[in-house]
């Protein structure tokens, strides 16, 4: 995150104010703009899910719309053919999309950079064509499927823009929180190691193909679940919604906002979905502006509008506990004998127990006990 550490009370007050503002927005803005916020929310969450793959892991994946499509169609098919309540399909959409990602990503995961990009574009096209051709007789061809049942949460029906607003942005908040925690973990770091130098990551003990695949599957599961919400919101699920240009848009959200940065992706989603609406009169120049903005970004700010911040680690308790460098250690040894055995840094856990090898593989686990 950009903000390394806000002072606690200010941080909490800021979050509280934001929360109240978010609650009030649909009333302030009215249905038209609320609907826009809903689109923005969907793109933001999709962007965050793509950010795991593209932003954190550095995999050039331009077929995210395919995963999103699988989720939306799972919901549409189950809802129209089998009358399954929409929210029940949510986990299944995620699951199916994840399995789909696993199957298609497995054989291509070793491809690098632009090669992967081309293949993922292929995937999104294949999915779209399969949908148009009414695959398995389930997808309704180019007309798609019409969902009749609204989402119902404990009998409460979600249909107005404001309802969707609260649903989408609640999911958005949970997504932000979970992905924030994830990026500050062993998993998140592993993805970044791969992005920076895959060969070095593998050489340091990171199972790179496992993590690359895991990032694909996680991104797909999330996109699939958002597919469910999208299906319920748009009511007609058809192949046009999952075209290649949709994938490009998501790609642009991540790259423009800042690859690997949650605030960056949120800003990216806001700009890419919001600005064209705000400047509606300039509609016809929209693509021109969009293209020019992308070119300018790549030249002047390739890291994105809000590049990822540094992680914060609580290292203070450990600093100064271990004599630093050979000079310090040999000095210590020449003075009072701090260490029982000459090879060990004086005063460490390892030095205290000279009998056992200091750096066995279980070293860290032992220290934790």
């Amino acid at each position: 995150m950009i903000v390394r550490r806000l002072p606690k009370p200010a941080g909490i007050m800021g979050l509280g104010a934001l929360f109240i503002l978010m609650l009030a927005l649909p009333r302030i803005l009215g249905p038209y703009w609320t609907n826009l916020l809903n689109d923005m929310g969907i793109y933001a969450i999709l962007g965050l899910s793509l950010n795991i793959i593209l932003g954190h892991c550095g995999l050039f994946h331009m077929g995210h719309a395919a995963f999103y499509a699988v989720g939306a169609y799972v919901t549409a098919i189950l809802s129209t053919r089998f009358a399954v309540p929409i929210l029940w399909t949510l986990p299944l959409s995620g699951l199916m999309s994840g399995v789909f990602a696993l199957v298609v990503a497995r054989p291509i995961i070793h491809l690098r950079g632009d090669y992967l990009l081309v293949v993922t574009i292929g995937i999104v096209e294949i999915v779209r064509i399969a949908l148009v051709n009414n695959i398995f007789g389930l997808t309704g061809g180019s007309n798609g499927l019409l969902i009749i049942n609204p989402i119902s949460i404990f009998g409460f029906q979600v249909f107005s823009p404001a309802h969707f607003y609260y649903l989408i942005w609640s999911i958005g908040a949970v997504t932000i929180l979970l992905f924030y925690l994830l990026q500050n973990s062993r998993f998140g770091r592993a993805l970044n190691y791969i992005k920076q130098d895959e060969l070095a990551a593998e050489g340091c003990g990171v199972n790179t193909s496992h993590y690359k695949l895991a990032s694909f599957v996680l991104g797909a599961v999330w996109a699939g679940m958002i597919g469910t919400i999208f299906a319920a919101k748009i009511e007609t699920v058809s192949p046009q919604s999952f075209s290649y240009s949709e994938s490009v848009l998501l790609f642009a959200i991540v790259i423009l906002g800042g690859a690997g940065s949650i605030p960056g992706v949120l800003l990216g989603a806001f700009l890419i979905t919001g600005l064209p609406e705000i400047f509606r009169e300039l509609q016809s120049y929209r693509l021109l502006f969009f293209g020019a903005a992308m070119v300018a970004m790549m030249i002047f700010r390739p890291q994105g509008l809000i590049p990822p911040g540094r992680r914060f680690y609580k290292v203070r308790p450990y600093l100064g506990r271990f004599p630093c460098g050979i000079a310090a250690r040999s000095g210590a040894r020449r003075g009072i004998s701090l260490s029982a055995s000459p090879g060990y840094p004086a005063g460490t856990d390892a030095g205290a127990d000279a009998g056992k090898p200091a750096r066995g593989p279980g070293d860290m686990i032992e220290e934790q006990a």
């Binding site: 190691y193 920076q196 340091c204 609580k314 090898p357 750096r359 593989p361 934790q368």
Partner: protein
């Protein structure tokens, strides 16, 4: 008692035989030097040991287990850590995070534990931080913990790679030209550091061009030329070996002092 044994290892690239039936052993607790002129195939031998390349023929035996053809991360997990000849740190990450990458294979938290920061995950993360700081201090880089790897001096980047390798808790450490780009003082310190590493029970196999360093710290040498082993022995024996002096051509004066 040897910790690592290479048996008839061969590797060619197209028509070029880079490594030609190489066999040698690294004794447990030893510091073994792999030397030879540029292009002799030393780095390729390392890449065969660490799983970056698969040998055309031959086996790599580590602690009596055949590790030939395993993926590099598996080999790190088994207890062999390495550094790279052309430094390969994670440039945009802090020194601390670079060392944490070494801890990765000793941690267990999966996706869900990471996503929800479960208690076990938090404990593991703290333990990893402690290990990382310990290794940073060990190589003398504690104060640099928050600096980006790319902003460190060349010599320090080499030390950071060593700290990162140590963080994986290896029993064999493989160093590819660790003194490359270091000044005299840094090289002196490095000699002390490698001795300390051995003192903690880690065996060391290193490639080095600095003959001064090699003669000082290695207790056994293997000389490679055109991919094949041309001599093995104690540093004092290698110094006098006619074949080796010839292989190094004008470098014989280096071997004298």
């Amino acid at each position: 008692m040897s910790i690592l044994r290479l048996r008839g290892l061969s590797k060619s690239f197209g028509g070029l035989v880079a490594v030609d039936e190489v066999s040698f052993e690294v004794s447990r607790g030893g510091i073994v030097g792999l030397i030879g002129p540029n292009g002799a195939g030393k780095t390729t031998v390392f890449n065969l040991i660490t799983g970056n390349y698969k040998p055309d023929e031959g086996e790599v035996i580590f602690e009596n287990k055949n590790i030939t053809g395993l993926l590099p991360h598996k080999i790190v997990e088994m207890g062999i850590a390495r550094t790279f000849q052309n430094i390969r740190l994670f440039p945009e990450m802090s020194a601390l995070e670079n060392v944490l990458s070494g801890c990765h294979c000793r941690m267990r938290s999966g996706l869900l534990a990471s996503m929800f920061h479960l208690p076990g995950q938090r404990r593991e993360e703290q333990a990893a931080l402690e290990t990382a700081v310990k290794e940073l201090a060990f190589v003398g880089l504690e104060e640099q913990y928050d600096n980006l790897a790319k902003n460190l001096s060349y010599g320090r980047q080499r030390l950071l790679e060593i700290a990162r390798a140590l963080a994986s808790g290896p029993r064999l450490l493989i160093l590819d030209e660790p003194a490359g780009g270091m000044n005299d003082q840094e090289t002196q310190d490095l000699i002390g550091l490698i001795r300390e590493i051995r003192g903690t029970g880690i065996s060391v196999l290193l490639i080095e061009h600095d003959m001064n360093l090699v003669m000082k710290i290695c207790d056994y040498l293997i000389v490679l030329e055109y991919g094949a082993v041309i001599a093995t022995g104690l540093p004092s024996e290698i110094k006098k070996n006619g074949r080796v002096i010839e292989a190094y051509l004008g470098a014989d004066n280096l071997l004298e002092n």
